[in-house]
C-alpha cells in the first residue's frame, strides 16, 4: 500500500540508523581495550578459536590457489615464451590481491559466521542481559576480545595464505612444468617491491580484518533474539562481509596501485 518513495525513505533511514548504531557499538568496543590489556588471556583464547582453527582451511586453500595460478599462468605465459616470469605473476597476484581478499572471504565464512552465531545465541538465551544485571559490560567482556582477536588474526592468516600459495606455484611451476628455478625466484625478487606490494597487502588484510570482524560481532549483537533471527544474522554477516571486502578492495587498490 505504501508508495515507493515512502518505502525508499524507510529503507534509507533504517540503513542509516543501523550504520549509526554500528559506529556507536564500535566506539564502545574500543573502550574495552583497557580491560584487554589487564586480561590478555581473553584475547588469547579467542585467537585460538578464530585464528588457529582457521589455519588449516587457509593453508590448504592457499596451496591450491597457488597451484592453479601456476598451471594457468604457465599456459598463458608459455605462449609468449615468458614462462620465467611465472614466479612474478603468482607472487604479485597472491600478495596484492588474492591473499588478502580470499583469506578475508574464508575468514568470514569460517570465523565470522561462528562469531555472529555465538553472540546471537548469547543474546537469545539472555546471557548478555544476565551479564548486565551483574554489572559486567558484555561489550567489553564478550565482544571486545573477539573483535581484537579477529583483527589480529587476519593479517597473519593472509600472510600465511600468500606464502603457501607461492610455494604451491613453485611446486607446480618448477617441479611439474620445468620452469627454471633460479629465474622463478630471482625474477620474483626483482619485480615484487617490499613497500608497494607486501606492505600494501598487509595493510589491506588488516583493513579486511576490521571490516569482517566488525560486521560479524555487530550482526550477532544486533540479531533478533529468536532462532530465526540468529540464523538470518549469520547469513547477513557472511553476505555483508563479502560485499564490504570486495567493495573496499576496489577502493584500496585504487588508492594503493592506482597512480602507477
Amino acid at each position: 500500500m505504501a508508495d515507493p518513495f515512502q518505502r525508499l525513505g524507510r529503507f534509507t533511514l533504517g540503513a542509516l540508523q543501523k550504520l549509526g548504531r554500528a559506529l556507536f557499538f564500535m566506539a564502545h568496543v574500543w573502550l574495552g581495550t583497557v580491560d584487554l590489556v589487564l586480561r590478555p588471556r581473553l584475547v588469547i583464547s579467542q585467537m585460538f578459536f578464530l585464528g588457529v582453527m582457521s589455519v588449516l582451511i587457509v593453508a590448504v586453500s592457499g596451496l591450491f590457489v597457488g597451484m592453479v595460478l601456476g598451471l594457468q599462468g604457465y599456459n598463458v605465459l608459455s605462449d609468449f615464451g615468458a614462462e620465467q616470469t611465472l614466479g612474478v605473476m603468482v607472487a604479485a597476484s597472491l600478495v596484492r590481491e588474492l591473499g588478502p581478499v580470499v583469506t578475508a572471504l574464508l575468514f568470514s565464512g569460517r570465523a565470522g559466521s561462528a562469531l555472529t552465531a555465538e553472540i546471537g545465541l548469547m543474546k537469545t538465551t539472555e546471557q548478555l542481559a544476565g551479564m548486565e544485571m551483574m554489572a559486567v559490560d558484555p561489550l567489553r567482556r564478550v565482544v571486545a576480545p573477539r573483535f581484537f582477536a579477529g583483527v589480529a588474526s587476519m593479517p597473519l592468516l593472509a600472510a600465511l595464505f600468500s606464502m603457501v600459495g607461492v610455494m604451491g606455484g613453485y611446486f607446480v611451476g618448477v617441479g611439474l612444468l620445468g620452469v627454471d628455478e633460479g629465474a622463478f625466484w630471482s625474477q620474483m625478487t626483482a619485480k615484487i617491491d617490499f613497500y608497494d606490494d607486501v606492505v600494501n597487502g598487509v595493510i589491506k588484510s588488516a583493513v579486511f580484518g576490521v571490516i569482517v570482524t566488525w560486521i560479524a560481532v555487530y550482526e550477532g549483537y544486533d540479531a533478533v533474539p529468536t532462532a530465526e533471527g540468529v540464523s538470518r544474522a549469520t547469513t547477513r554477516s557472511v553476505v555483508y562481509s563479502a560485499f564490504a571486502v570486495l567493495g573496499s578492495d576496489f577502493v584500496l587498490t585504487a588508492l594503493m596501485f592506482g597512480d602507477h
Binding site: 585467537m47 588474526s153 597473519l156 600472510a159 606464502m163 607461492v166 625478487t189 617490499f194
Partner: protein, 207 residues
C-alpha cells in the same frame, strides 16, 4: 589449566607461523633484502640525453653482474638532460673514472638498466663523482626512422622506396636542429647518439 596451556601454545605457534610467513614474503618474495642493502655504498652521477623508460631501482650492471642500483632520476632544467644517480655497492670501489654508462634493455621488451663499461684510467670513481661518457637509451621510433631514412638514401632501387622517403624525410631532420641547441652546453661526448643520425654504430659516440 591444562587446556589453557595447550591453547596458549597453539596461539603462540600461530603467531610465529604468521610472522614467519611475513618474513618469507619480505625476504624471499620481495626485494627488501636488496633495498636495505642500497643504504650502503657510494653515489655517482651520470647525465643522459634521454633515459627512455629507465626507472628508479633499476639495475646497474658491469659485465652483466649487478654492481648497484639507480637511486634517483631527475631532470636538469638548465641543460635539458636527465640526471641519474647510481648507488654502487661498496665492494665495487675500483671503477675507473673514464667508465662509460649506457642505458640498455634486457631482452627484446625487458626492463631497462644502466650498463657500465670500464675505461683505462688508473684513478677510481668515488662518492659524488660524475660519469662524463654516457650514451642514451635507444628509442624504438628513432631507430626505425633512422633505418628508413638511411634505406631511402641508399636503396632507391626498391619499387616501394620511391613513395616512402617522402614521409621519413620531415621526421629525420627534426633531431638534427634539436641537438646543436643543447650540445655546446653539455659535454661534447654526450651528444653521440642523437647527433649523428645516419650512423647506427654507437661506438662512435664514446670516443
Amino acid at each position: 589449566m591444562h587446556q589453557s596451556k595447550l591453547m596458549e601454545t597453539g596461539v603462540g605457534l600461530f603467531v610465529a607461523l604468521g610472522l614467519m610467513s611475513l618474513f618469507f614474503l619480505a625476504m624471499q618474495v620481495s626485494n627488501l633484502a636488496d633495498v636495505t642493502g642500497d643504504a650502503k655504498g657510494y653515489r655517482i652521477t651520470a647525465r643522459f640525453q634521454n633515459v627512455g623508460s629507465l626507472k628508479v631501482r633499476a639495475t646497474v650492471s658491469m659485465a652483466g653482474v649487478r654492481v648497484g642500483r639507480v637511486s634517483s632520476i631527475r631532470f636538469d632544467k638548465e641543460s635539458y638532460e636527465a640526471v641519474v644517480d647510481l648507488m654502487i655497492d661498496p665492494q665495487f670501489d675500483t671503477i675507473p673514472s673514464d667508465t662509460t654508462a649506457t642505458i640498455l634493455t634486457q631482452g627484446l621488451l625487458g626492463e631497462q638498466y644502466v650498463g657500465l663499461s670500464p675505461g683505462a684510467e688508473s684513478d677510481y670513481l668515488k662518492e659524488g663523482d660524475k660519469i662524463d661518457l654516457t650514451q642514451s637509451a635507444m628509442v624504438l621510433e628513432q631507430v626505425i626512422s633512422r633505418f628508413l631514412f638511411s634505406k631511402a638514401e641508399g636503396g632507391g632501387a626498391q619499387p616501394g622506396g620511391v613513395a616512402e622517403p617522402a614521409k621519413p624525410e620531415p621526421v629525420a631532420p627534426e633531431p638534427a636542429p634539436a641537438v646543436p641547441a643543447s650540445e655546446p652546453a653539455a659535454d661534447p661526448a654526450d651528444a653521440g647518439v642523437t647527433g649523428t643520425a645516419p650512423e647506427p654504430s654507437p661506438a662512435g659516440a664514446v670516443r
